[in-house]
Amino acid sequence: MDLRYSEADEKFRAELGAWLKEAVPAHGKAPSIHDWPGRRAYDTGWQRKLFDAGYAGVNWPKEYGGRDATLTEQLVYYEEIARAHAPYVGVNFVGMLHGGPTVITEGTEQQKAKHIPRILRGEEVWCQGFSEPVAGSDLAALQTRAVRDGDVYRVTGHKIWTSFAQVSDYCELLVRTNPDASKHKGISWLIMPMDLPGIDIRPLPTIIGDSDFSEVFLEDVPVPVENLVGEENDGWRVTNVTLRFERGTAFASEMYQLQESLRDVVEIAKRVTRHGVVVWEDRALRREVGHLQSELDSLWAMMKLSVSETAQTGMPGLGASAIKLYYTELYQRVCELALGVLGRAGLAREDVGGLPTQDALRRMLNSLSLTIAGGTSQVQRNIISERILGLPREPR
């Protein structure tokens, strides 16, 4: 039960920290959320810098250009990235965290050679075409059809919650290739170039007011058969490889960020006065901050335990559902606390009175999606109770 990072880990931390200290300020300020070309350039530019410095794909195998870092190094990496307020993975998200890893695991040599280096260097942006209006929590109910026609699949359907579709080069796409099979058996996983004819992208504004998500309408889109990843009709298994990547260590940075958010609450509370008293003197607030600190420390310890276990098994376990559930609900509690401290200043989504309301409000609104995306909290509780605790499955 050894909690201390090794000397090698600390050495890695020192090098990375030193590099970030220069690289982060040098990369400049993020563009407006509405400036899509700017966002792509900013995010992929940062990815390129990571690559050049040897920090791209820390968890990717060396043979694919990754760093093949140990899991503790990965943890150090995510901690330092968050601590330095380095740019978020942004438009590289799907490529680096979903599509890339899936191609590495399930793709052909040709697919790997074509995409992996470019994703890693920030030259290729991916988006995700999984969910459909009728297939959310019940993803396997997806209806987008792909019909084989010579060298292509002709794809017709309607995808939703596709992030960064506007600036993507490829889409990891789930399609139904066998409508007669049971719902999990007829799905395939395709790499769809976004410049094919028949693709119509319609942004879907969120409650934050951004357009990070889109609906994607597909009308007879000819996706080359060579872009099939895994076997035809084996897409559900391939997908689950991706989903398990998503529930692994990827939250580490956000968790560290969550601790920073709790500090922000304290900082704001120390700057706001009510009835002539500094809000931080409110013991009811402090009690809640204290409990949250205890829970954040518990979450972080859970993460370390999970990483230590994953280091042996190679794959994050089902416990990742517990981490996802706990993390997202804690995140919302921290964001709500900030709202209470801000009071009327929290009615503005830009900084007022010298208070950082913009960040606090954006974070709060964004937090509402965390218990929905990537499997709702209710779905996570089902997974935990059925697959971990062995309780009876839902009657279908």
Partner: protein, 327 residues
């Protein structure tokens, strides 16, 4: 004692409801984004008696009570009607033209001890601004303030302005008037929060009954059913306590006004937040879109929570009162 909504009250509420349904649809609200105010709508609300409701008939008002006003504000809350509704209503009889809608009156509650930045809702549409202090009410002309517009308010239907200094105004009420205004304001806003509590549950019910996943309406999953059952309990409790606060203001012999008001505002603020939060979650991804109007309710809740005392402030007041009673 007969605590039910009586026939006249039901008719009053129904009148406002059908007005709002026709006049303030979600589509019409979308067009008000960034403005949050429309003078014709304001005049129509005045004509419906929204502002002069409690003004004596002799003074050109409708001559009804606070319990009636609560029912009206519940409907305004349900329909998300924007504008400085409570302030203008409170100003009827105090500021010429408030009751008939010719003067749009806003306000700033300075009695709660919050310092700068001062945030004023709907500033650019105001003819008169009330300043509510613990011991007096003042009025000032909006042009006397150096107000900076906030480009991105949280509630797209409630534009806000930032003010760092508050000028001296004309005193138009004393300590008792100020206290009454705080109480009445808190109850009216609690009515709006009640409306949000109800409508967000109704939206959740409609959505989850219609949305199918795993070949079943998602509203049939017990976990979601129980969330909505809790929302229902919250709604019923909130309706009761908010109505009770209105009735107690009308008849102080029916209870302790200060306690009734604080219980109502503390409860309504919590309930509106929890039910609108639940609605976002129950709508799944759709709840996170701008298109589905759940977010308007969530955001309006924050606006209403932060006026005439927050839930926390009212909870503190209740504890203070109980502590004194026990002493």
């Amino acid at each position: 004692m007969d605590f039910r909504v009586n026939e006249d009250q039901a008719a009053l509420q129904e009148g406002i409801r059908s007005f709002c349904e026709g006049r303030v649809s979600i589509e019409q609200l979308r067009e008000l984004e960034g403005k949050g105010f429309e003078s014709e709508l304001w005049s129509e609300l005045a004509e419906m008696g929204v502002f002069g409701l409690r003004l004596p008939e002799a003074d050109g008002g409708v001559g009804l009570g606070t319990a009636d006003a609560v029912l009206v504000f519940e409907e305004l809350g349900k329909a998300l009607v924007p504008g400085p509704l409570a302030w203008t209503h409170l100003a009827a009889g105090l500021v010429d033209g408030a009751a008939d809608g010719t003067a749009v009156v806003g306000g700033l509650d300075l009695s709660d001890g919050h310092g700068a930045p001062y945030i004023i809702e709907h500033f650019e549409n105001l003819d008169v601004l009330l300043l509510l202090y613990a011991d007096r009410i003042e009025r000032v002309a909006p042009k006397a303030l150096d107000a900076k517009p906030v480009a991105t308010p949280l509630d797209p239907l409630t534009p806000i302005f930032e003010v760092s200094e508050i000028p001296e105004g004309e005193v138009i009420g004393g300590a008792e008037d100020a206290q009454r205004m705080r109480f009445e304001g808190a109850v009216l806003v609690s009515g709006q929060l009640l409306g949000i509590t109800e409508t967000t549950l109704a939206m959740s019910l409609e959505y989850t009954k219609g949305r199918e996943q795993f070949n079943r309406p998602i509203g049939g999953f017990q976990a979601l059913k129980h969330i909505m059952a809790d929302c229902f309990v919250r709604q019923e409790a909130t309706r009761a306590v908010v109505y009770a606060a209105g009735a107690t203001i009308d008849d102080p012999l029916a209870g302790d006004v200060s306690r009734a008001v604080s219980s109502a505002k503390a409860m309504a603020g919590e309930s509106a937040w929890k039910n609108s939060r639940a609605a976002v979650q129950l709508h799944g991804g759709m709840g996170f879109t701008w298109e589905v109007p759940v977010h308007y309710y969530l955001k309006r809740t924050r606006v209403l929570e932060n006026v005439f005392g927050t839930s926390e402030e009212h909870a503190d007041a209740l504890a203070e009162g109980l502590g004194q009673a026990v002493a």
